[in-house]
Symmetry: C2
Subunit: 146 residues, 2 copies
Amino acid sequence: MKEDTATNEEAIRDLIDSYVNAIRNHDIEAVVSAYAPDLVAFDVVPPLRSVGAERYRKVWQEVFAMLEKPIPYDIRDLSISAGDEVAFSHSLNRNGGTMKNGRKLDLWLRWTACYRKIDGNWKITHMHASVPVDLQTGKAMAELKP
Amino acid sequence: MKEDTATNEEAIRDLIDSYVNAIRNHDIEAVVSAYAPDLVAFDVVPPLRSVGAERYRKVWQEVFAMLEKPIPYDIRDLSISAGDEVAFSHSLNRNGGTMKNGRKLDLWLRWTACYRKIDGNWKITHMHASVPVDLQTGKAMAELKP
């Protein structure tokens, strides 16, 4: 049977939309519900690798404590590839906004999200967020814009 | 129709094995043939995003010019999720070896690879490689070990 590519892609697009809106609105339950419980994450900051969605409840709570609501979180160059059970997306995600100390944040992350359909619902089972680095100088290149 | 998960996962595992062996042995054609022509890459070094497999011919040629053959390239914590048309894998990849100037390289990268079956053959259509960074100090955390 041919996979229903259009329907699956639409489902992933809806999930990403909900996830981004949840981030914008500090909706911690909706953010965490996008993840599978055994999420494997390669995040922009250490550690090298983390396992488990519950860890991200704390990570996002710290982000939400730091940034005024709503967070201007935007996605560009989004590409989605979706089969019936397995999917992935990649995009450039802008983490913007005003910190509660008045400092402005404007950080573009490369974001790869990988999904599995679990009991009929798509969940993020793996995500990878990063900025490039200069291996000669050891510096993070956190100011690059698309 | 239930997707043939085991067969698809085995095909992805074979592709990764071939790819890693090609890197170890400086086999540039075999490395580049693992990629789809329109590969979208988020690499450990700038730019933020690149498109096209041919760019990586030059990238790998520069790596091969720098490192003695064979390159001790190893993968751990590999996870593969594969449908009939779409798949992804994530792992920690050790880029080791001796540079031709005698300096030792020992860099662990987080590696996410995303695949599509194109004309019956699995190809890497997206890859994301990175090290974590410290956003406070602006430093790349290139010395982390799993």
